[in-house]
């Protein structure tokens, strides 16, 4: 058992292996992805691991395995839980036999997400216990306890780290032992069939259990109260606990401190210890005011009078991430002590802005550019989706008019075309998103006689989250050869007849295909097929003949390729970034860009 530097997500994956997990399913999403990947990487050989096509599918498969008595883990990001919420709500009532831990990573900021939703709130809504780790070390320890709690009460349990826990590395000693379990197997019983009568009984039982857990979990090592000086206390949880501890140590302050590691069901008795010692409480947490509202409710229930500072009165920020410095300023003011001095610096010079962009050579750039060229002078709307290609919204491409959630490009395009029949409505969907929720949305388009162009950006991988295999890649996460589900065949199967398969780097063919599809009445589809640059090494690079370059900068203005660099009045190509896609060769009006000899 040697100490190693381990990422929070990897620690959670290893924690699941140590706890004897037998089935792990999930759908990739930052910041959760590395959990399932770690289980696959360290798989002793007897754990079934899969990337499912979406989160609902993943949760249902895990539910079946847990019905049969296996320990299971399901992984997703917070918005993935929205997709899985249908099975989740019912599963809360039905319950499980084998332990089930649902790993849902939240993303305060948000750093790479659509929403700042709080899975602790989702846990309370679905009535499930929620563990909220404050460090990678604690996340590792929590996995085994979450499984034990799940099995003791026959309920799924949510483990909810946030980005800073998921992606932080800590020094952790991982035991080499594993809990050994033999699943009982599926035992037929009416309890597995959800019916109104059963749901009523289950609802009653769940509420009673959660009332009991408010006391039982107060004894958990993850919910702690430490007394301090004065009558002003602090309540916190998750990574904010780490920030508060650091801020207090810098400020040299010792205050009554409540740490909530299991926010639902709320550890009432532990919180009462804090309330007994204080007149005023500052609540430090990210996203929703979960601990804060529980404290308000507890004060009402116990008929106590305390001042609560937090999100409700505007003492702490209502959105975004917490930081040590942000909380330190708030705590210093709250306690009436001086803030530590910071280095005084002069105003810095203007800094270059570095927004994320499509990589040099990315085939999505060519796809967007072809559609843009083909639709010049025509009224068109471009409904985008979730993936690297959301970056198609950036200047100068400016080819993503909407982005809502997974699969919604296809359906938003349908909705707009119902109101604006004179507009050509495009959707852009990546291959993984196509299988996630795109397919039923396209079936809807065909069934309801929509008039739209569905563009499928097939780069043969799930690029955004780090190249996970999907039904289009012919491989699975266990490294086995898997069925490669042909996108064109799937489109034909749901009744689309006007389908073009084009390499977007062949711009002439791509533009023609778009023009044809735009004029076609009904649903037409274009599959732009070219591999993600991360999947191959470039064979030839582009080069600028500076004698020929007239410095018109059309290539810079039109493409926004990071491989094209402004060099005085002219342009040069960064050979470290160029992938030789050749898109710029076709754009140069004086043929100054060619492949290197």
């Amino acid at each position: 058992m040697t100490k190693q530097l381990i990422m929070g997500n990897e620690a959670i994956g290893l924690g699941a292996i140590c706890a004897g997990v037998q089935v792990v399913t999930g759908y990739p999403g930052t910041p959760s992805t590395e959990v399932l990947e770690s289980v696959a990487k360290h798989n002793p050989g007897d754990i079934y691991v899969e990337w499912s096509v979406n989160e609902k599918t993943a949760l249902e498969i895990a539910a079946g395995a847990a019905y049969a008595g296996a320990r299971v883990m399901v992984t997703m990001k917070q918005v993935g839980l929205n997709v899985a919420s249908d099975p989740l709500m019912s599963l809360s009532y039905v319950g499980v036999k084998g332990g089930m831990v649902i790993l849902v990573a939240d993303d305060p900021g948000p750093i790479s997400s659509q929403t700042e939703q709080d899975t602790r709130t989702f846990g309370a809504y679905s009535k499930l216990p929620v563990f909220d780790p404050s460090s990678p070390e604690e996340a590792f320890a929590m996995v085994g306890d979450a499984f034990a709690l799940s099995e003791k009460y026959g309920t799924p349990v949510i483990l909810r780290p946030t980005t800073r826990i998921c992606h932080a590395y800590a020094t952790i000693a991982v035991p080499e032992t594993r809990e050994s379990r033999v699943p009982e197997g599926f035992v037929k019983d009416s309890r597995w069939v959800i019916f109104p009568k059963l749901s009523y009984a289950a609802h009653k039982r769940i509420e009673e259990r959660n009332r009991e857990l408010r006391h039982t979990l107060s004894a958990s090592a993850y919910n702690t109260y430490t007394s301090g000086k004065g009558r002003k206390g602090i309540a916190c949880g998750g990574v904010s606990y780490a920030y508060v501890k650091e801020a207090l140590s810098i400020l040299g302050a010792e205050v009554p401190l409540l740490k909530v590691g299991i926010p639902h069901p709320f550890p009432e008795d532990t919180a009462m210890e804090l309330l007994a010692d204080t007149d005023e409480i500052l609540v430090c947490e990210e996203l929703d005011g979960v601990i804060e509202k529980e404290l308000f409710a507890l004060l009402g229930q116990k008929q106590l009078c305390r001042v609560i500072r937090g999100k409700t009165d505007g003492t702490t920020p209502s959105a975004g991430e917490n930081t040590v410095n942000g909380l330190m300023d708030i705590i210093a003011e709250y306690l009436g002590i001086a803030k530590p001095s910071q280095p005084v610096r002069k105003a810095p010079p203007a800094l270059p802005v570095r927004p994320p962009v499509l990589c040099a050579g990315c085939p999505h750039r060519a796809s967007f550019y072809a559609v843009k060229q083909a639709m010049k002078g025509r009224k068109a709307v471009f409904a985008g989706d979730i993936g690297c290609y959301t970056l198609g919204n950036a200047m100068p491409l400016d080819m993503t008019d909407t982005c809502l959630c997974m699969g919604a490009g296809i359906t938003v395009a349908q909705g707009i075309s119902r109101v604006q029949p004179d507009t050509v409505c495009f959707s852009f969907t990546g291959d993984s998103t196509f299988y996630h929720t795109g397919l039923p949305n396209l079936a809807n388009a065909v069934y309801n006689n929509a008039n739209m162009v569905a563009v499928i950006l097939d780069n043969s991988t799930t690029a955004m989250t780090g190249h996970q295999p999907n039904p289009n890649t012919g491989k699975n996460v266990m490294g086995e050869v898997a069925a490669k589900i042909d996108i064109e065949g799937a489109l034909r199967g749901i009744g689309i007849t006007d389908i073009a398969v084009v390499n977007p780097l062949d711009q002439d063919a791509a533009v023609k295909a778009v023009q044809h599809a735009a004029d076609h009445e009904g649903v037409s589809a274009i599959i732009f097929r070219a591999p993600c640059i991360a999947l191959f090494k470039p064979e030839k690079l582009c080069a600028v003949d500076t004698a020929k370059c007239i410095g018109c900068r059309k290539c810079l203005r039109e493409l926004g390729c990071p491989g094209l660099i402004k060099d005085g009045k002219k342009v040069r190509i960064d050979t470290g970034l160029c992938y030789g896609c050749g898109l710029c060769i076709g754009i140069c009006p004086v043929s100054a860009i060619q492949y290197e000899a």
């Binding site: 530097l5 992606h167 650091e246 010079p349 402004k566």
Partner: protein, 193 residues
């Protein structure tokens, strides 16, 4: 407690450098924490790696004004992250400026010179590393991280010596990369006067 902030542009090798620092600390029996930028901002975006060595670290990220050492792979990123460095702290900065796509589209030019002019005027110990020249000598941009670690080790502000670095290279990298990386450490260390 030693706080080291590494910063640069996605793809420059900051992550590997932070891992080397953390792993060498663990080998010395110390506790290490790191945290870095992952995800959408990775390619071509500003990236940071926070390395915290010692037991007293609670937060995964270094608070502002608390970094002992700043290792910058890019001059503008050094300026952007300077608020993390404590007064009198050590900044090791490479002159390898990376122009963003926004620069290609704008009418102004970004160069590292204005950044160094600003840094030279601040209350810090500035160690300038000629990364451009070093890459030319070694023949690969991949050695920049070893060169900067070499400079950081030679500064005496770290828990790691140039000998430790050479040992890590010999024990963890494939043999064909040894000469190039050992040379980078040596050249980087020479930046410290």
């Amino acid at each position: 407690m030693l706080n080291i902030l590494l910063c640069g542009v996605g793809g420059q090798g900051t992550v590997l450098a932070s891992k080397i620092l953390a792993k060498s600390a663990i080998r010395q029996g110390k506790t290490a924490h790191t945290a870095e930028t992952i995800g959408m901002a990775q390619r071509g975006g500003s990236v940071t790696s926070h390395v915290r060595i010692g037991e007293a670290a609670y937060s995964p990220l270094i608070p502002l004004g608390r970094a002992d050492v700043l290792i910058a792979f890019e001059p503008a990123e050094a300026v952007r992250n300077l608020p993390y460095l404590k007064d009198g702290g050590t900044a090791i900065v490479s002159n390898t400026a990376v122009k963003p796509v926004t620069d290609a589209l704008s009418t102004t030019d970004y160069s590292g010179d204005a950044m160094f002019a600003y840094l030279r005027d601040e209350n810090i110990r500035l160690i300038e590393v000629d990364g451009e020249e070093l890459i030319r000598i070694c023949g690969s941009a991949k050695v920049l991280n070893m060169a900067l670690l070499g400079a950081a080790a030679a500064s005496g502000e770290m828990n790691i010596t140039t000998d430790d670095l050479c040992e890590i290279i010999r024990t963890t990298l494939p043999e064909k990369f040894h000469t190039m990386n050992l040379q980078a450490v040596e050249l980087g260390a020479r930046s410290v006067r």
